[in-house]
């Protein structure tokens, strides 16, 4: 909630600063800047580069600030670390009371330390000392050294002077003490507003993990091998799907028999999400490479077939007529008119198919695999290695994005006439 509030505040502040500050200085002078109607004219809406930059920066800073990163100069209040103490008052069955102090030592996450050495003190209640990690809690084993224990009928009646009973909680210095239903004390140090590393590790620990597993590996494979295998499966599966799907789509676009024969199959398979096929493919082909590639083949096949079919139906009849009256044979019409004319459509399909394949491979690896990006994050999550999970997600996103950009570049290069007919 607080994070959302801060995020919105930064969004608004950045907008105001950029709008009335920076934009005034670096304003672009081109045709679009002269348009007076921009609200509602989609073509006049261009992404503000400052906004994109600040957006990424904001996410990074929020991440750093709420994980106590060393890379970010300001932090949300962190968990309490250090020594603190509180006193409890024990009442013996005969009504006698005695105070004892609990010395708590809160250690930073991951560090080991011993409790403080403390004098036992006088009276029947003796002082205690505990050591615990930040964000954790600890039961105070006061019965261990007290002369009158709860078994003897003694009970804690006050903490830091405030009366308590089983079930109540009391704020003490740097934490809270809860009295359990059995009458023992549970100390919880202040957690602050930062995230625990097992929920959200700091950016530097993610980066450190990248370095570590790109050299030492994780689950028998280095990071690059995991990513390589995922990409390899996507590319092989996609290529198989395209090699079968594109001719199939052409056949469906050119022959009534093929269209009639394959229409029911394609129309039926199209709405089945590839993820739903994972169990079947595992039964048929196991969790090895062939199973993954079959799955991705199926994911790409229908998309490519449908886009090739659409590419054929999209050809202007006058182009086909023109080619025939220039003396082209059927084969030449296919080769020089229908295929090039359908390329833009096929590229659009290929971009979609690549995206679907990339998503499917990760999901399939999450379910069962020996290697791959999805398997890496799944196994890591079982061991609560959140930094690996986070790193995996970021890299999966980066790779998916790069694939799309590469496809778009290839499209610009190979079908420059797209959208110009």
């Amino acid at each position: 909630m607080i994070v959302l509030g801060i995020y919105i505040a930064i969004f608004c502040a950045a907008f105001i600063v950029v709008r009335f500050g920076i934009s005034k200085i670096t304003e672009r002078r081109d045709f679009t800047s002269l348009k007076t109607v921009t609200f509602g004219d989609e073509s006049a809406v261009r992404p503000n580069r400052w906004a994109s930059f600040l957006s990424v920066l904001t996410l990074f800073f929020l991440w750093g600030a709420f994980t106590g990163s060393a890379w970010v100069p300001f932090h949300a209040p962190g968990p309490f670390v250090g020594d603190t103490e509180f006193t409890y008052t024990m009442e013996a069955p005969d009504g006698a009371r005695d105070d004892a102090t609990v010395y708590a030592r809160v250690l930073p996450t991951g560090e080991k330390g011993d409790p403080q050495d403390v004098p036992a003190g006088d009276g029947f209640a003796k002082n205690d000392s505990i050591a615990l990690a930040a964000w954790r809690s600890d039961l105070v084993l006061m019965d261990k050294n007290d002369e009158i224990t709860r078994k003897d009928g003694g009970k804690v009646v006050a903490i830091d002077g405030q009366p308590v009973s089983p079930g109540s909680r009391v704020e003490v210095a740097h934490g809270t003490v809860a009295v359990t239903s059995k009458g023992s004390l549970n100390f919880v140090p202040d957690g602050g507003m930062q995230m625990e590393p097992i929920w959200l590790p700091a950016p530097e620990s993610v980066v450190a993990r990248v370095k570590e597993i790109s050299v030492r590996g994780y689950q028998n494979f280095t990071l690059w091998e995991h990513l390589y295998w995922s990409l390899f499966r996507v590319i092989v599966g996609f290529l198989c799907g395209a090699i079968v799907g594109i001719p199939l789509g052409y056949a469906m676009g050119l022959s009534g028999w093929f269209r009639g024969w394959f229409d029911p199959i394609v129309e039926f398979m199209r709405p089945v999400p590839p993820l739903a096929l994972i169990p079947l493919v595992i039964i048929w082909a196991g969790i090895g490479e062939s199973g993954k590639i079959i799955l991705l083949f199926l994911a790409a096949l229908w998309i490519m077939a449908i886009s090739a079919r659409a590419g054929v139906s999209g050809v202007a009849i006058s182009k086909v007529h023109a080619a025939y009256s220039l003396g082209a044979s059927r084969w030449q019409v296919l080769r020089y008119v229908i295929v090039p004319n359908s390329l833009p459509e096929i590229f659009t399909g290929a971009r979609v198919a690549m995206g679907v394949c990339w998503g499917t491979v990760v999901a399939a690896e999450l379910v069962a695999a020996e290697k791959g990006a999805g398997m890496m994050i799944m196994v890591a999550s079982r061991f609560q290695l959140t930094d690996i999970v986070l790193m995996g997600i970021i890299l999966i996103g980066v790779i998916g994005f790069s694939i799309d950009i590469l496809m778009r570049k290839a499209e610009d290069w190979l079908v420059p006439w797209k959208g110009r007919t």
Binding site: H321, A322, A323, S325, L326, G327, P416, W417, T421
Partner: protein, 293 residues
């Protein structure tokens, strides 16, 4: 679909043949052509009824008529894209049964191949016929000169203006050296000035190549200028309403077309045909209103 060519003479134009030094005989005869489109709802449209016509080699014929009178259907049958429900078309005594290289077609727009350069578009026909590059390249370059696109031959067609694209389409058709050139509103999408220049170009190419040209247009002026013969068609059913033989095309070759248009006879014919088409349009409107009532 395609069949062997029976004509003789050089297959492809070159600089000399373009000068009008020769003329291949090609006679197009159209016999009792009828075309009926059966609609899925059980009714039908009689797009053409009993059209008969002979077109001699080297004739320039323009076709005019109100919208929907079957001009495009007529041309598509000549090109071989449609087979008529009745009647037949023969070219040099061979029945027309499908599209072929001897009947070239120039479309209104959008029939160029965007994925090819201007030059590849123009040389498409010879390439498809498997000709050697050195055999056709001179002719292609010559045609690019004729249509004034030598400087644009390496450009993509989508980089050209509408008028330039139509010139590419003309050159592409000519490079294939067809006997008959069919044009369906080839200049319909152009602005008035470009259109006038293109009309001059069509006349020039007609004179130089001696091709048989059949041209559909919506503009009465264009039909008069580019019609040695002018066919006025009437709708429902589509039929030949009236035929003219006009001197303007022959007179206009190589001249400023505006001087031809100033001819009093030209103005007279224009008025005559315009009112003829107006009457037809009014009749159609009347009939539709009756049908509604």
């Amino acid at each position: 679909m395609t069949r062997a060519r029976t004509d003789v003479g050089p297959r492809f134009l070159n600089a000399d043949t373009l000068k009008g030094a020769w003329c291949r005989m090609s006679k197009l005869s159209i016999n009792n052509l009828s075309m009926r489109f059966d609609l899925p709802n059980g009714s039908f449209v009689q797009a053409l009824k009993d059209v008969s016509l002979d077109i001699e080699s080297g004739e320039l014929m323009s076709v005019l008529g109100p919208s929907g009178c079957g001009k495009t259907t007529f041309l598509n049958i000549l090109a071989g894209f449609l087979s008529p429900t009745e009647g037949s078309v023969t070219l040099n005594d061979n029945a027309v049964i499908g599209p072929s290289a001897e009947r070239g077609m120039v479309f209104q727009q959008g029939a160029l191949f965007e994925w090819m350069s201007v030059r590849d578009n123009v040389s498409f026909g010879p390439r498809m016929a498997g000709r050697k590059k050195k055999d056709y390249m001179d002719n292609v370059n010559h045609l690019l000169d004729v249509v004034g696109l030598q400087d644009f031959k390496d450009k993509s067609v989508y980089e050209l203006s509408g008028g330039m694209q139509q010139r590419v389409a003309l050159a592409r058709c000519l490079a294939n050296d067809p006997d008959v050139i069919l044009m369906d509103e080839p200049l319909g999408a152009l602005d008035a000035l470009t259109r006038e220049k293109m009309q001059g170009l069509v006349l020039k190419l007609w004179k130089e190549t001696g091709k048989t040209i059949i041209l559909i247009t919506h503009s009465v002026e264009e039909a008069l200028l580019l019609g040695q013969r002018l066919l006025v068609m009437a709708p429902r059913p589509g039929r030949i309403h009236k035929e003219y033989r006009l001197p303007f095309a022959a007179a206009g070759v190589g001249k400023d077309l505006r001087t031809v248009k100033r001819d009093p006879e030209f103005a007279e014919k224009r008025e005559e045909i315009l009112s003829m088409i107006w009457d037809m349009e009014e009749e159609i409107m009347g009939r539709t209103e009756e049908a509604k009532a």
